[in-house]
Amino acid sequence: MLMISRTWPDRQPSLRVGWLRFSNATRRWPLMASSLALTLLAVGALVRFSPVGHAVVAAARHPIAVLTITGPFFAIAIYRRRRRLGRDRHRDWLGSLPSDLPLMIRALFGPLAGWGCAAFALLTASATAGLPFTRAASLVFAAAGGLSAAAVAVAFIMALQGRRELRVQRTAGSSKQAMPASQYAAARRPRASWATSASLVPLGYWPMARARFSERPKMRARTLVPLLLCLPLDAPAAVALAAAAVWLLTMHLLSIMVGLMRVAFAAASWLAPTGVGAARFAVAVSHRALASEIATCALLVLVAAAADHRAFHAALICGMLWTAAACLLSAAACLVALQSHSVARSLVHRWMR
């Protein structure tokens, strides 16, 4: 028998589903819960033992600056979430239910959770790592101020946008000419050479698209900010720029390789039933990604040589080793992927015959 709880939080489906997802994920993958605890501990240690601690103390001296920085940061986050929730409203499985929180409140969940984690880390650091409590508290309150200001600003912007969209919709709805003649799906411009020749070459775009997706600006910022925070406060701008450039290029190399691995398996599961040859498949999937890897390695070597000509040889060797490893890895991934997705080709099947 299913007994239904009727407390207020239980009657807010999105709140309850968020909690259930989290608790189910930690129950299903216990490693996730321990890695979360480890992350929090690592943040505390970072604040205690690294130059980040100095940056935090310096930031706490200027709460207005913190408010000015966190305000737009939270505003962008809340605005994106609110837009996405509004856009995907008709795809929300809870959308037809009578009781749920307004979209604006739901858009606040993520940034609020981020602020909560940051506050927890700062207050833990103040208790254990010697960060003065008043400094930590002023940072937490400044960030809360930024979050509140951002929420108010986004609510105001969304109200204005909502009114404008309603006006546009009413105008479109009242126009007799507005109804499209047939289907409503936006028709894309047809390609001139649409599927006229059978070729595996377009597969090469897939890993690149995957890599571009994983290193979109939001993700780049998430990895770059901690790196810049780890630099000493008195580091010259040239060093910071060089570190950022090297970091971005390295991340590019890694994301291409990760994209290539994932795409190799996805493409193999799709194409294995066609009986495509392993060599053709490997070349088609990896040629663009490997070309990009080689170009990026060359760029890294040039950057290293420009910074210090003595580093040229070491960088060149590293670049060549990385390129060779990338070629071997991509070939191995494509072969393993095809083997694992094709019964006819699998080693077990051959052995059985």
Binding site: R11, L20, G95, P98, S99, E165, M179
Partner: protein, 261 residues
């Protein structure tokens, strides 16, 4: 057992239309998909919504479920205008969402509990639990949704639509992927609700055999407008005369689209 708390329920519901759509124009952004659609569904009626892909069937259901606000016009569910009081209108509504939208990290039981709690239900209706048994879903209820097959997710989506004894059950392609036994159980359950005048069903579907056999009325949606409706007598006429709804739909579509050209 009486499941749904019915505060604010109009007394005229049992007699009147459970759904009344008046001059609905709706779409995405400034692009209208539906144009001046008028549709009424009485209590104890099974209405089928037919139409080719992209004709606006799902958009119409989104509007009824309160997921999409119409540009023009009003929708009343059990006498409550969705434009004026969306939350009250949704209390009478059971909407079967697309099965792929059910969150994969929840168990089937948790999904049911979330839906029931959000609808203010004390206990899930015994007939719904019987349907779960008929679907052979009881052993799967404590498994995560991402381990379910397409058909099992479809069953869960249909059961979610029935939680809280709604007066209007809105289903979009609800029989896709169901095995024959489960499909028959769902059709019989819906038919029994309709015949007992406990609910009405609005089903968007391409399965014309289901429409011929179970629906009381059918409406054909073409290019965002209701082009043709068939009454219960006409639908039963197909069964007795040996004709098919498929031919009738095809002829009506050609006539309507030919008139537009």
């Amino acid at each position: 057992m009486d499941a749904l708390t019915t505060e604010g329920q109009p007394s005229a519901v049992d007699q009147g239309a459970v759904l009344r759509m008046t001059d609905i124009t709706a779409g995405y952004g400034a692009e209208p998909v539906l144009c001046e659609v008028n549709l009424e569904v009485q209590l104890g009626e099974w209405v089928a919504l037919l139409g080719p892909n992209g004709s606006g069937k799902s958009t119409l259901l989104y509007c009824i479920a309160g997921l999409l606000r119409p540009m023009v016009g009003d929708i009343e569910v059990c006498g409550v205008s969705l434009a004026r009081d969306t939350a009250s209108g949704k209390r009478f509504l059971g909407y079967g969402c697309a099965p792929e939208l059910i969150p994969p990290l929840l168990t089937g039981r948790q999904c049911l509990e979330v839906y029931a709690a959000a609808k203010g239900v004390h206990e899930i209706d015994a007939t719904v639990l019987d349907l779960l048994k008929a679907f052979a879903m009881a052993p799967l209820l404590d498994q995560f949704v991402d381990t379910y097959s397409l058909g099992t997710r479809q069953k869960l989506a249909a059961v979610l639509a029935l939680v809280g004894a709604p007066k209007l059950i809105v289903l979009d392609e609800a029989f896709n992927g169901l095995d024959p036994a489960s499909g028959r159980a769902l059709k019989r359950h819906l038919r029994s609700l309709v015949e007992a005048r406990r609910a009405s069903v609005l089903l968007a579907t391409h399965a014309l055999d289901v429409v011929e056999r179970y629906a009381d009325r059918a409406a054909l949606l073409l290019s965002g407008r209701i082009a043709r409706q068939w009454s219960g007598a006409e639908l039963s006429g197909f069964r007795s005369s040996g004709g098919t709804l498929e031919e009738a739909v095809s002829a009506a579509s050609e006539a309507y689209l030919g008139g537009l050209r």
